[in-house]
């Protein structure tokens, strides 16, 4: 039996009533009395709220009076108050890890409410087990590691831009990585923003310019994060700069190359509505204003080289370039993509020319879009005199996306308004299930659009047919208020497609060992109290990658993430929980099973003195125990959950 400091354990047991949460079911007095009968227990008592100040004082007093060196509190889940009691114990002069908590609330009184007798018996079992483990507890010392004073921001949309600027303004170095040739994300594609109708580019481009000029921000556009190693405070990041085939240091963005380029292809930025050349910038205000050659379409005719002349910015031989940076924290802001409307074949997207998506409409109505802001329908280029907007295309649909995409109601109301503004005599219908105008000023905007004569029909569109002659569309639905099927003949249909997590997030998610919720978006540490952090220390979330949200919410979360990401950096060092895996190198055979099961990438097998041995990176280790369970030779144990400690608990349970 291992002892700490060579002393005989003197255990104090404290049973909490938690008001009536525990005491209403469990006979707490009986449990406390029982505890006194257990070996090494020298003191036991109960109290109404152990976590309260008087409760904690009670523990401290008892430690002093009874010279206690091990503490067991039987109360709620350790998730809630383990830290509280560790601190209490520590204040009384004991090592905080000489404390054990027995959960007699969540795992007992709450689940056995109708059986107080059995619950009391189970509480005794749990206390007995805790005491058995407490006897074997060892003092542990937390470690401190220094923090690299820089932040990596992945994704250059509004979330990444906002987070980068906030951090940079605090004086922190920021590496902003964007996979597209320019930052701006999806927001820069939008025409106006609801409900204030600010021009999206007008409010975003100043921030983009700030990013490009800020001395604390290093922008890696047309680049991808390919590898992340390390842990909070010390992440090693490998960034791959994709070849633009245009030298960033020489290109002035003059555009002479694009003028002469003979290859015209659809511009992804306009969602294929308008053209670009094989050498291009996606939009005029692009940051950085550097041209990129699309090698999928370039034929290397050399006209651009000639047009570029003495600048000699074009370099067909450019290769991908690797950049390594070191950062203390990381913000993921990888955004979203649209649901592919072709998955709802009843709406005919991809088949009927005049069925477009909402994002295509944004480009159509945008003054810098391919039509100069004129709303026209694709089949004949004429302004449509009637438009139907279909909500929830993909969203709130068990056959597609079960969740609400949150933004579609509002942007569709905005689209209806924009159509009415530009084609006043157009009939605009919105087919909806519910209008969710949840934000500040949103309900008022909804009201305004109703005033403008937009017809809202409460019914989800069931199908669309195209008249092959006129290319008009017949939208079928039920007006559920009238309880009658309706058929609307319109000249254009806009599908308010839902949002999905950006597929490009997935490799990043895996590299960072962060998790996703069932909907595919990245999982936050706590949905209410910590929505901008992940379960991995030092990695934070901003914007749509965490879940559908509008611009105000995205910006707010981005600032929150920036603030959270700056804390370890401003502290300069971080404390690491000592409950980590520990390798007994004498037993380790270097088989590597531990490495393959570790969900955090904390265990690696390395050469030590000519032999392969498992190594634990204590900063990355979460103490989950997967490696310990998998180790065939019993070489790995998790401190505070050592084999003898757990076996003692099991013994205690079976011998009760």
């Amino acid at each position: 039996m291992s002892k700490s400091g060579g002393e005989e354990p003197r255990i104090g047991v404290f049973v909490c009533h938690c008001g009536t949460n525990i005491a209403g079911v469990v006979d707490v007095k009986e449990v406390a009395e029982y505890a006194k009968t257990l070996p090494n227990v020298v003191y036991a008592t109960d109290y109404v709220y152990m976590c309260s100040d008087p409760g904690q004082e009670l523990i401290k007093q008892a430690i002093k009076e009874h010279n206690l060196n091990r503490i067991v509190v039987a109360a709620c889940s350790p998730r809630l108050h383990e830290l509280t009691f560790r601190r209490t114990v520590s204040e009384a002069g004991l090592n905080p890890f000489l404390f054990e908590q027995a959960n007699i609330r969540e795992q007992n009184s709450w689940v056995h409410m109708d059986n107080p007798e059995e619950a009391t018996r189970k509480a005794k079992d749990l206390v007995r087990m805790a005491v058995a483990k407490a006897r074997l507890l060892e003092p542990l010392e937390p470690k401190e590691v220094p923090v690299e004073p820089a932040v990596l921001v992945i994704g250059g949309g509004i979330a990444g831009i906002q987070a980068s600027l906030d951090l940079a303004n605090k004086g922190i170095r920021v590496y902003l990585v964007e996979k597209e040739p320019s930052i701006g994300g999806n927001m820069i594609r939008l025409d106006k923003t609801f409900p204030t109708l600010d021009c999206s580019a007008c409010i975003l481009t100043p921030k983009m310019v700030d990013v490009s000029r800020h001395p604390n921000i290093t922008l890696y556009a047309y680049s991808e994060v390919v590898e992340v190693d390390g842990y909070i405070g010390n992440f090693d990041v490998k960034i791959l700069k994709k070849p633009r085939y245009v030298r960033e240091d020489r290109c002035t963005g003059c555009g002479k190359c694009a003028e002469v380029c003979p290859v015209t292809v659809p511009n992804e930025f306009d969602l294929g509505l308008g053209p670009r050349k094989a050498i291009y910038i996606p939009f005029p205000q692009a940051v950085p204003a550097v041209y990129t050659i699309d090698m999928d379409h370039c034929i290397k005719c050399g006209l651009c080289v000639k047009a570029c002349g003495e600048l000699e910015a074009i370099d067909f031989d450019q290769k991908p370039e690797e950049v390594n940076v070191k950062v203390g924290t990381i913000i993921v802001a990888t955004g979203f993509e649209l649901f592919d409307a072709r998955q709802k074949p009843e709406y005919g997207y991809g088949i009927y020319q005049n069925v477009i998506t909402s994002l295509q409409f944004e480009r159509l109505v945008n003054a810098s879009g391919p039509t100069g802001g004129q709303i026209v329908r694709p089949s004949d280029g004429k302004p449509p005199k009637s438009v139907a907007i279909l909500l929830c295309v993909g969203s709130r649909d068990q056959k597609a996306l079960p969740y609400c995409s949150r933004i579609c109601c509002m942007y569709s109301l905005k689209h209806a308004h924009q159509i009415k503004e530009k084609i006043p005599d157009a009939e605009v219908y919105i087919l909806y299930m519910d209008i969710r105008s949840f934000g500040k000023g949103y309900e008022e905007f909804y009201n305004r659009v109703q005033h403008e004569g937009v017809k809202l029909i409460r019914g989800r569109a069931s199908e669309i047919w195209e008249d092959p002659e006129t290319k008009n569309l017949i939208v079928r639905a039920e007006d559920t208020f009238l309880g009658k099927p309706v058929e609307l003949e319109v000249e254009m249909v806009i599908l308010a497609t839902g949002v999905i997590p950006n597929p490009a997030t997935e490799p990043i998610r895996k590299a960072l060992f962060i998790t996703q919720s069932p909907d595919g978006f990245l999982l936050e540490a706590h949905p209410k109290l910590n929505p901008m952090s992940t379960t991995v220390d030092g990695i934070y979330l901003a914007g749509m990658c965490q879940g559908p949200k509008d611009i105000p919410d995205t910006v707010a979360q981005a600032s929150a993430a920036a603030s959270a990401a700056s804390i370890p950096i401003l502290q300069g060092k971080i404390v690491i929980e000592p409950i980590v895996a520990n390798v007994d190198e004498n037993l380790c055979g270097g088989c590597g099973i531990c490495e393959s099961v570790c969900p955090y990438g904390a265990v690696t097998v390395e050469e030590v003195g000519g032999k392969r041995k498992a190594r634990v990176n204590e900063a990355k280790c979460k103490g989950c125990g997967s490696c310990g369970a998998a180790c065939p030779s019993g070489a790995i144990t998790v401190l505070h959950f050592k084999d003898d400690q757990i076996l003692a608990q099991v013994d205690a349970l079976l011998t009760g």
Binding site: P345, E346, I351, E463, W465, P468
Partner: protein
């Protein structure tokens, strides 16, 4: 096998024989029974009788092939239900065992269209066509229960499928798109016998739209749809005074023509809408 249109039975037997596929009769089989017209009377009885039919095929160790969407729905779904629910299977077998039958879930149920498309193969089918029906415009009628509900089938999308188009185009004919192509013939779910006039409204929509799209004929894969679309036109003439005269062919009959089987062996006599003018059109080909 369809009782009303023996021509479909004959055409299927000949066509399959020519394709080298052996058909085994299920002696003593009963009505599938009809999913829409019989099912609601008692879903358990519907499953018992369906299982009885399946057990006949099981005993012979062969999969079931249907030429009818209704039979397909009943037998496919009963097979699926009983395979996945051992308790239900036991209750069904409790009724069947004393009668000398037992369902064990050992076979598959396939529709002839599915079989020709997936198992036999479109390319091979094209190879079997001796008289490509070039220049013939076909309006495709899927019928509902072949593809729907898609969650209970493995045939893919039911909004814009191309299963039938593929095997029809293998005969050399061209498929024309027409409005409301995927809607019901009107007969299903017992509606034909419950309210004939109501069922004919959908029939009218289909026939009218197909005719306006320039179809020379409409091809189906279900004798019940076949009845509604064929006899329904005679009924529309009688009740509404409108007549389109659009010839209705079961796929087996169309394939038979393309394989060079003489029309008189394909049993067009039982049709209400004469196919003479259609056959006239094919004169240069067959």
């Amino acid at each position: 096998m369809p009782n009303r249109y023996p021509g479909i039975e004959l055409a299927t037997r000949i066509v399959m024989k020519n394709l080298g596929i052996e058909l085994v009769d299920m002696e003593g089989a009963s009505c599938c029974p009809a999913p829409g017209a019989f099912g609601p009377a008692d879903l358990f009885t519907w499953r018992v009788l369906g299982a009885r039919n399946l057990s006949i095929a099981e005993k012979k160790g062969v999969d079931v092939l249907t030429v009818c969407n209704g039979c397909y729905k009943t037998l496919y779904e009963v097979n699926q239900d009983l395979k996945s629910d051992p308790e239900l299977r036991e209750r069904v077998n409790e009724v069947l065992r004393p009668l000398g039958y037992e369902y064990n879930g050992t076979i598959r149920v396939r529709h002839i269209a599915e079989y020709l498309h997936r198992d036999y193969g479109v390319e091979k089918l094209r190879g079997a066509v001796k008289k490509p029906l070039e220049g013939i415009k076909v309006a495709v009628h899927y019928g509902c229960h072949l593809m729907r509900p898609k969650l209970r089938r493995e045939l893919g999308d039911s909004e814009r499928p191309h299963l039938l188009e593929d095997i029809i185009e293998a005969t050399g004919a061209e498929c024309v798109e027409y409005k409301d192509m995927m809607i019901c013939c009107g007969a299903g779910g017992g509606v034909r016998s419950y309210d004939l006039a109501l069922s004919l409204t959908l029939t009218h929509t289909k026939i009218k739209n197909a005719t306006e799209a320039g179809a020379d004929c409409m091809v189906n894969v279900c004798p019940f749809c076949h009845l509604q679309l064929d006899r329904g036109q005679a009924e529309l003439k009688e009740q509404w005074g409108v007549y389109y005269g659009l010839p209705i062919l079961h796929y087996s009959q169309l394939l038979g023509l393309a394989m060079g089987i003489p029309p008189k062996m394909l049993g067009f006599e039982a049709h209400y809408v004469p196919v003479d003018s259609f056959l006239e059109k094919l004169k240069g080909i067959i």
